[in-house]
């Protein structure tokens, strides 16, 4: 049995929020630079250059990469041999998010009720996904998820007969319809299979995978290659103003599903792609 104090979790989360919001992750930066070499449109190139410069300014002047510092999405993988001390885990996470968004001057973007829409004032509640896993380690994943890209995400309960082509069409149409709204170049998270809610979660988990790391299953890897090509062939381009860099990457995460089902969820993330992981 290993003990972890919630105080340690609080500190780790503060650090995750800071890194995610102020520092463009190296994998994203590298992809942007690669895209600048392959982009052919002048407007597209000019936007990609702005994004690289934006990251430099954000780091040098401690300014958030983007003003929408998002809803805080927290993934907790807790080893079953861990004993947590020091109070409620849920409360710790919410308190850490509250503290981080205040301390780092981040935007408070949550409203208390979807229809009343009064700002909660502290960017809580965070969306928390907890999983108990074997072992005595704890993994914290943090995503600052912007509204623009989240809102262009979609889920489809397709019929199995549409097969691979049907899945590709659904994903490509989602990106096409999203246009400039999700701040392309985007990272496309695709959750394939499971059921209604599992597919959505798979899509978000797919976003957490570092860019450049291949999917586990060969079938998913092949689908990713097809999707990336077709998404970039849409010509949506940086900020939807045209060009060949529509997506920096497509990540597929699949799961078994019902004989009658073919769920596919597409979770779009913008070029800020604020994802951080840490292991305690």
């Amino acid at each position: 049995m290993r003990e972890i104090s919630t105080e340690v979790i609080r500190e780790a989360l503060l650090d995750c929020v800071r890194r995610a919001c102020f520092i463009l992750m190296p994998d994203v930066r590298q992809k942007l630079e690669e895209s600048l070499r392959t982009e052919t449109g002048e407007t597209g190139k000019s936007i990609l250059r702005q994004l690289i410069k934006n990251a430099e300014i954000a780091a040098a002047e401690s300014r958030p990469l983007c003003q929408d510092t998002g809803v805080a999405v927290v993934f907790l993988e807790i080893g079953q041999e861990i004993h947590l001390t020091g109070g409620s885990l849920e409360e710790t996470v919410q308190a850490a998010v509250r503290e981080a968004y205040k301390k780092f001057y981040l935007r408070k973007s949550l409203v208390d009720h979807p229809l009343n829409r009064k700002n909660t004032g502290d960017n809580t509640p965070a969306m928390i996904h907890t999983r108990i896993v074997p072992g005595d380690r704890m993994k914290i994943g943090f995503v600052a998820k912007g509204g623009g890209c989240e809102n262009m995400s979609r889920i489809g309960m397709l019929t199995p007969s549409v097969g691979c082509r049907g899945v590709v069409d659904f994903v490509v149409q989602t990106v096409r319809d999203a246009g400039g709204n999700p701040c392309p170049p985007v990272v496309v998270g695709v959750g394939l299979g499971g059921n209604f809610e599992k597919a959505a979660l798979l899509a978000k988990e797919a976003l957490l995978r570092p860019l450049g790391r291949p999917a586990e299953l060969p079938a998913d890897r092949e689908l990713e290659r097809t999707l990336l090509k077709e998404v970039n062939d849409t010509g949506v381009g940086p900020m939807g103003l045209g060009g060949r860099t529509t997506a920096l990457a497509v990540h597929v995460k699949s799961f078994p599903c019902h004989i009658a089902a073919l769920p596919v969820a597409v979770n779009l993330d913008c070029h800020s792609h604020r994802h951080v992981e840490t292991v305690l």
Partner: protein, 190 residues
């Protein structure tokens, strides 16, 4: 696209608005207003009740933005554009009253484009997510109205060399049309 950016200094008159073409790069200088969903809703409510708007929008440019608060010593922290489609329900009314420019990201509805053609207004795209870079172009920011709305308050902003691209011009020409079909059944928020 023109080779060197044109300088735009609000208030803009109809002739200069009509002179801009989709794809033109511009640098905006001077005073603009920052407003997003909630501030627009209140402005339209004021008009509905026959009250005046809190600021003079004739010739003005509205930037769709909700900045992060500035850390000590900063005017604002990060301030990139939000998705414009959410303001589509309100924009035609303001354009009729003389609004000449809007800055945001993503495509506009046919109703907004029609109003732009009718009255002579321009839609500029700024780079979404380049919040740090764009915030550096904001040299002054103060709440002009609706302070209780927090990040959504109506703000006056003085900008210097603020980079944008004419995405849709007053003739209705648009950089987006070539790449996507418009969907108005989504209301993205950011």
């Amino acid at each position: 696209m023109s080779s060197s950016p044109q300088i735009i200094t609000p208030p803009m008159d109809e002739t200069s608005a009509r002179g801009l073409k989709a794809g033109d790069e511009v640098l905006i200088q001077g005073v603009i207003y920052a407003a997003r969903d909630a501030a627009h809703k209140r402005m339209i409510a004021a008009l509905d009740e026959g009250r005046p708007l809190p600021v003079d929008i004739r010739g003005a440019i509205i930037y769709y933005v909700g900045p992060t608060p500035g850390a000590p010593g900063q005017v604002v922290g990060s301030a990139g554009p939000t998705t414009s489609v959410r303001m589509d329900a309100y924009a035609p009314r303001l354009i009729e009253l003389g609004l000449r420019g809007m800055i945001g990201k993503g495509e506009r509805s046919p109703e907004v484009v029609a109003a732009m053609k009718q009255s002579g207004a321009v839609y500029f795209a700024a780079t979404g997510g380049a919040g740090a870079l764009l915030a550096k172009c904001i040299v002054r920011a103060e709440v002009a109205a609706y302070e209780d709305l927090g990040p959504e308050a109506l703000r006056l902003m003085e900008v210097k060399d603020f980079p944008a691209i004419v995405a849709t011009d007053a003739n209705g020409q648009s950089l987006y049309q070539r790449h996507q079909r418009f969907r108005n059944d989504f209301f993205p928020d950011c």
